[in-house]
């Protein structure tokens, strides 16, 4: 009878309630009048004391994008080495799936536990900002690595390489391999991965240079950092673009999947592949001739550097202001650049000749 009518009334009421709640908040917020809060505020508060010694017993927590990712396991282990060197307490926590919302809950937990330093790789540049700011307010130093947040949410971002550096080296590698002309495609990770998109944008810029004028980027495919999906996408690329000469896959999952596909297909050696991959994953394909050369920074070094940066922050050696300098154990001295960015260095290029020297 009218049971449903009541429910319908309920639904209407719910809508009305939202309307009221919404309009009660304030009158008509639009994108135009809201004015995006630009993160101009660099945060370097207080003065750095370059001579301060690194404190012992610092509680340093690593919060990767997800805990089940071998890449992050490697870099967190680098961080662990560093923390051991400076006699701190190391901890690695993180969600089992790469989602920003669960990272927020972990950040809250860490700040609740009174961590001195939180080293994190952001699943979303904005979503975890609020939580990071709260943690910062509670006294924790925030270092991001691999994937950054908005600059105002952290003190230091440890960048594996500059985005420009990646774009340059990737384009250069593929150009060398395909002989400077032909169609190429990019196989990326997820479509909203911050760093991937930044690199891809820069690669497109790079390709506009005259020396690459004969190279045509035909498409960007997304393998979602999922092995099977990347595999299928590679398949799709080769079928859709018969004239494809090369693929750049600036993600470790993607490049390995693509290499495996190529090595088992008729395109092996004919379609060139380069990208960012780990030597362990790629060793086989470099040796069997599928891949000539690829690049990567050392993820362990990345974590190592991030841990040192965090310790330096917590000890007052640096504040994250441009020009601050600190020493990161075996890696030597680093300087903080603009927006609190510390760059690990140019990527290493791996090929048949040097790959056996690396184990990670």
């Amino acid at each position: 009878m009218s049971t449903y009518r009541r429910l319908r009334a309920g639904a209407t009421a719910l809508t009305l309630a939202t309307l009221l709640l919404g309009s009660a908040a304030c009158g008509g917020t639009t994108r135009e009048n809201s004015g995006t809060d630009s993160g101009a505020g660099a945060q370097a508060s207080g003065a750095a004391n370059p001579d301060a010694k690194l404190k012992e017993g610092l509680k340093i927590a690593f919060l990767p994008k997800q805990v089940n990712n071998p890449y992050f396991t490697t870099s967190d282990n680098g961080g662990k080495d560093a923390v051991t060197e400076i006699k701190g307490e190391f901890k690695e926590v993180g969600p089992s799936e790469a989602s920003a919302s669960s990272q927020v809950s972990y950040i809250n937990t860490l700040s609740q536990q009174g961590m001195d330093v939180i080293v994190t790789s952001a699943n979303d540049p904005n979503a975890i900002c609020g939580a990071l700011n709260q943690a910062k307010a509670a006294g924790a130093k925030i270092v991001t690595f691999d994937s950054d947040t908005k600059p105002e949410c952290r003190q230091i971002f440890v960048n594996q390489v500059t985005a420009e550096g990646i774009a340059e080296s990737q384009v250069k590698l593929i150009s060398q391999q395909i002989g400077g002309e032909g169609e190429i495609a990019i196989l990326s990770a997820t479509a909203n991965a911050t760093n991937q998109n930044a690199w891809i944008a820069l690669m497109k810029e790079e390709l506009k240079k005259p020396e690459y004028s004969k190279i045509k980027l035909v498409t960007v495919a997304y393998g979602n950092d999922d092995d099977q999906k990347s595999f299928q996408e590679t398949q799709g690329l080769l079928q859709s673009y018969p004239n494809l000469k090369g693929i750049i896959s600036p993600t470790t999952v993607g490049v390995a999947a693509a290499a495996r596909y190529l090595s088992g297909s008729q395109y092996k050696g004919k379609v060139k592949l380069t990208g960012l991959g780990t030597p362990n994953q790629m060793r086989e394909y470099v040796k069997d001739g599928t891949v000539d050369a690829f690049a990567l920074w050392n993820p362990a070094d990345l974590g190592y550097l991030a841990a040192y940066a965090g310790a330096a922050l917590a000890s007052g050696q640096i504040t994250g202001a441009e020009g601050d300098k600190f020493t990161a154990g075996k890696l030597g001295e680093f300087a903080v650049g603009k927006d609190g960015v510390v760059v690990l260095g140019p990527p290493t290029v791996f090929d048949k000749n040097n790959i056996d020297q690396f184990q990670f």
């Binding site: 990712n69 079928q239 088992g264």
Partner: protein, 353 residues
């Protein structure tokens, strides 16, 4: 829904003689065949359209990729058919696959010399053990399979994560003979696909022609009646979950062979595709009807859609939406057919009077 089915019954003596009856023999089977045929037509149409847009889609390499790509899903869908036919569902297959795949890698790490047939057997056994957990909980606790397997979906994946602890196993860690299994072809047909074919044929044949196979349909069709007719319902359902676990284990080993790179996330979310494949293939989600062949065709269709979306350069974001829409379309279509059939049968009953 039986509200109207009791309508106008007939005095049996006045039923039409069996002459015309012969013509309508095997209505159910014919309907199933219709379903399989329409799947084939849909598949053909899809391939045709994609090939028209890009003639490489039908090249030898591409067909090989397609067959290779669908093999694992086919095996899982066939296993799921066994379960769904009994009016149950197993949502934990993706997690079982992931667990077994990683375990296989671990096995090769720990004992590099393991011959691959042994690894295969061990993988199947591990899958079966997971199935025992599912089936045991369902049979002992008398709780719907949906909830239990939702729970074990978490639990198996958790065990997998815990075990892997963020490590990855690479192709280099596994013996070449094993990896070849994943890529090798016999007369141009990938070995993986042949394995899947054997599974489909075996399960399909079993379901159609064996007493215990038919009993599975009986259980799904009317569990209470099945019990009263002396069918060991609990044991059969348990066995079905074990069998499905074993098939998921097989799929896990093949996954390891095919992809080479393994971490704990292998097969995450696969259960949706598996259920979708079975449902699209005409396996009624409320049990009692459907065939392994249909489910296998459903899996092939889904994989082909995935590939052709990639080939047609349709935004990959659409892919998941297409899977969802297909599930809805498939169950909607089934409903329509069932209503049609009920109407026809009722009509026939009435005419007989």
């Amino acid at each position: 829904m039986s509200l109207t089915d009791t309508g106008a019954s007939v005095q049996a003596a006045d039923n039409p003689p069996p002459g015309p009856g012969r013509a309508r023999r095997g209505l159910t089977e014919r309907l199933l065949a219709v379903r399989e045929l329409s799947l084939l037509i849909a598949l053909a149409a899809l391939i045709l359209v994609t090939t028209l847009r890009n003639d490489r889609f039908l090249s030898g390499q591409s067909i090989k990729d397609l067959l290779l790509g669908c093999a694992i899903l086919v095996i899982l869908a066939v296993g799921q058919t066994l379960v769904i036919v009994t009016r149950n569902v197993d949502l934990s297959v993706g997690s079982i696959l992931g667990l077994v795949a990683f375990a296989t890698g671990e096995l090769f790490l720990a004992a590099p010399g393991t011959p691959w047939p042994l690894a295969l057997l061990l993988g199947v056994a591990l899958g079966a053990v997971c199935g025992v957990v599912n089936g045991g909980l369902i049979a002992v606790a008398k709780v719907p399979a949906l909830v239990i397997t939702l729970g074990t979906l978490y639990a198996f994946r958790g065990v997998d994560y815990y075990w892997a602890a963020g490590r990855q196993i690479n192709a280099a860690d596994m013996p070449r003979s094993f990896l070849r299994l994943g890529n090798q072809t016999v007369l141009g047909v990938p070995v993986l696909f042949l394995v899947a074919l054997i599974v489909v044929a075996a399960v399909g044949f079993y379901l159609r022609s064996y007493r215990s196979g038919r009993e599975l349909y009986a259980i799904g069709s009317e569990p209470a009646a099945a019990r009263l007719s002396g069918i060991p319902v609990g044991r059969r359902v348990f066995a079905v979950f074990v069998a499905n676990g074993a098939l998921a284990g097989l799929a896990g080993v093949l996954y390891a062979a095919r992809f080479g790179t393994l971490d704990a996330a292998a097969g995450t979310g696969l259960e949706l595709q598996v259920v979708a494949a079975a449902v699209v293939g005409g396996v009624a989600i409320f049990g009692g009807s459907g065939s392994a062949y249909g489910a296998a065709l459903g899996a092939v269709l889904l994989t082909t859609i995935g590939s052709s979306l990639a080939v047609l350069r349709i935004d990959p974001f659409w892919q998941q939406a297409v899977v969802g829409a297909l599930i809805l379309a498939a169950i909607g279509l089934d409903r329509l057919l069932a209503l049609r059939m009920a109407a026809r049968l009722r009509g026939r009953s009435a005419h007989g009077a």
